[in-house]
């Protein structure tokens, strides 16, 4: 079947099986930033944004995104680069397999909350697993990044 959607601002039409999931379709079409860690929506590595909301692309049927906006990290490169600065400065990046998912979730968090509490941040990040960092440095990095974003918004 044909599915037409907006991928990173460009209209695309994929020919997919009805039971094909978005992560598979995107990887098949060369969007290799989508990393599949569990294939059962439990780890967050394959996160994309669907109409600006984080979604685990391993568990969304490609057919479901007909007409929708799908954003991958390719579309937020400057932002991902900046978030990576904060992660690197805290030593919060190790194997890196989870990082794309975090970049997209942090992007969405910034847009959904103006001034999130620690608990709101943790609730937002809870679906993205990381086995390397121990989370502490990541959390500090995210807080510092959010503070920086807030400064710019105020200006």
């Amino acid at each position: 079947m044909e599915v037409t959607f907006i991928l990173n601002h460009i209209k695309v039409t994929y020919n997919v099986r009805p039971d094909e999931y978005l992560a598979e379709s995107l990887r098949e079409h060369g969007i290799l930033s989508v990393r599949v860690g569990c294939d059962e929506s439990t780890c967050g590595s394959c996160t994309v944004l669907i109409d600006e909301k984080p979604a685990m692309s391993c568990s969304v049927l490609t057919a479901q995104v007909e007409g929708k906006h799908v954003t991958t990290v390719e579309d937020i490169q400057d932002e991902a680069n900046l978030i990576a600065d904060y992660f690197s400065d805290e030593g919060a990046d190790q194997c890196g397999f989870c990082l794309v998912g975090f970049a997209l979730v942090i992007h969405a968090l910034c847009r959904e909350y103006e001034d999130p509490t620690d608990e709101e941040i943790k609730n937002y990040l809870v679906g993205n697993l990381c086995r390397c960092s121990g989370y502490n440095a990541q959390f500090i990095a995210v807080k510092k990044y959010l503070a920086e974003v807030k400064k710019h918004v105020k200006k």
């Binding site: 099986r17 290799l32 930033s33 989508v34 990393r35 599949v36 860690g37 569990c38 294939d39 059962e40 439990t42 780890c43 590595s45 991958t72 990290v73 390719e74 490169q77 991902a80 680069n81 978030i83 990576a84 600065d85 992660f87 690197s88 400065d89 805290e90 030593g91 919060a92 990046d93 190790q94 194997c95 890196g96 397999f97 989870c98 990082l99 794309v100 975090f102 970049a103 941040i121 943790k122 609730n123 990040l125 809870v126 679906g127 993205n128 697993l129 990381c130 086995r131 390397c132 960092s133 121990g134 989370y135 502490n136 440095a137 990541q138 959390f139």
Partner: protein, 777 residues
Amino acid sequence: MSKSNLKVVNNKTRSVDGHAEMMGRPLYTDDYAPHGSLVCRMLRSPHAFAHIKNIDTSKAEALNGVKCVLTYKNVPHVAMSRAGQAAPSPSPIDKFILDEYVRYVGDEVACVAAINERIAEDALKLIEVEYEVFEPVLDYKKAFQNKTVIHPEEGISQAFEMGFRPKDNVAASYEMQVGDVESALKKCEVVIEHTAESQAQAHAMMEPHCSNARLDDHNRLVIYTCTQTPFHMRRILAKTLGMPLNGVRIVKPRVGGGFGGKQAFHCEFFVALVTLRTGLPSKMVYSREEVFGASYTRHPMCITMKIGADKDGTIRAIDCRALSDTGAYGEHALTVFMIVGSKVLPLYNKVDAVRFGGRVVYTNHVPAGAYRGYGAIQGNYVLESAIDILAEKLHMSPIELRLKNSMKEKETSPIFEIMGEGTKGTPMIMESCKLPYCITRGAELIDWDKKYPRIQVGPHTIRSVGMAIAMQGSGIPYMDMGSSSIKLNDDGSYMVTSGATDIGQGSDTVITQIVAEELMTSVDRVTIYSSDTDLTPFDVGAYASSTTYVSGNAALRAAQKMKARLIREAAAILEVKEDDIDFDGKVFVAGDKSIKLADLASRITYSKDMHQVAVTESFFGRVSPPPFMAGYVEVEVDTETGEYQLVNYVSVVDCGTTINPMLARGQVEGGIVQGYGMASCESVIYNKTGKLLTNNFSTYHIPTHKEINKLTTEFADSYDPTGPFGAKSVGEIGIDTPPAALCNAIYNAVGVRINDLPITPEKILTAMKEKEEKKEQ
């Protein structure tokens, strides 16, 4: 040497790869699979132990799109060990690529390669297998000399005597004794005995195991794979498949975490055989269920510690007996077992006598293998709980008892000489050991004196603290070798090729820093490429906490050699003596003569007497200086439900110089949380027929952002003269203390000691109720 004038090492340096990873570049193994690769899927055993009486693959082979089906009938029948270790193998040689026996639910039966995943999955359903099902061994305490023999087959062996007795279900055994433990214990005024068990923790790295293969322009087999040991893999794969070593190339791209789980073989044999048979590129990616249920786990163990001491708190004797479950195959059976003794018992080095021994048995469970901590975490859990029990009996503070008896600088333990990894060990003096500082500083940071043992903070809420100390090693002496090559580019920058295997821990960054420091340049002038058996020099790989120490020393030597070579080059050009040259990383100066490095590089490449400057150096350890740490945990326990929260985990670590302080912190904190997961929530449950039920992230809970509130990590000021710029290892030490520290903290809170991991609210509440009932009687 000192740390004071370091400019790159021990300074804040960003990782060399983090940005590319976050920006989503194609970097990992599966990103390199050629488009249109055949997809390999595995038919796995539904039985815990069975013999394949008959296997019919004809219907699967006839399915349109299926290119190849592998079974035990058509693959080489050569025994090997998948463990990914040095030669001769210190693990039993007890595995065939595919076998007519299947020994756990999930064991490999047949591999299908098809033009897409869907067809491969459909083909698996068409394979007809007739099994003769046997009674499995599912309790490792009943495995020894069980009537069910898990490895009855011919052709399996041990490379040297390690107690391998397959007819008794014993993969390995080990015994050692210093002094006379029995008589030393008899003389002690206080003796305690403590037994506890730990579970088959899952590695749960984020990137599932995967490999892909193709033939190159020389018709050689090229495998991209997420491995910790590319060079061991090349050796074992070539030998098992009967190929020349140089007919195989293993490329390790970015790896999405390993923790020991990627030291061994997973998909590599299958993609290799499929590509060799079909001539087509192929790939295999494990499902998360396969990662949990068909790769490796930590060795579950039951350990008993008997400790004898005088009333003044002098520990006189330790007797440690252990039973380890290696599951269906013996990968790392002996070596993990020996670490239970060799990297735990020397913590208390002033004893008159110490004994260690026991067996590693086969069962019909998912095989166990290498896992960060590697026996030390299992041993530490029981020893460090036992030390708290002893302290209570002696009416001493647990801190005082540890300070009195634990390892100090310039001291040693006879265990170092007796026990190595699989073989004899190496004597060594602790040239650096800041353990007493780690203990006292940790107590300050957690505010022990105010909080120990507990504070009531609500009607049914208690805050308590607990602690443990630990040690690890830095590579395997006289066994682990690493190498680096450095070549000068024509603009004066450097290209480093290193065998060191970056699996996410940051070794590429650390080696870049070491080279930049020695060559007095910045990290952006040094480019590193690591772990490709064609292009980089040999390195054993990322295991045994060896990379910073072994590979780092190799990189340092290579940089020293490059510096000497450059000075020689400059001396020739300037027509002065080498001794007269001052080099600051940018310019060579001798009196009034000088040449810039960039000009030298350009001149020797393009202008005069042209040649390439390149050096290679290697290193192997003569000792394995242990990192040490003290871990302190504060928890808040709800006495009505048994639930508890992690309030803070304080780590004070002596890993020598931290080459990269941020990455070192990441190693410690990542280890703490992985160890805390094992201690608190990572339950492993099998059903009655031996199927692993906890085989996804819904049923196997690993810590998330929500459980981790505060981690406090500090490093002791320490310098090991044998390490690169004073560094020791830091990869494993972080994981060791959480089980014992948490167990001690829960005891300090509610007076019950949970002696099997993980420490769940259910177990706490049940133990509290039992204690209450006993009191009433």
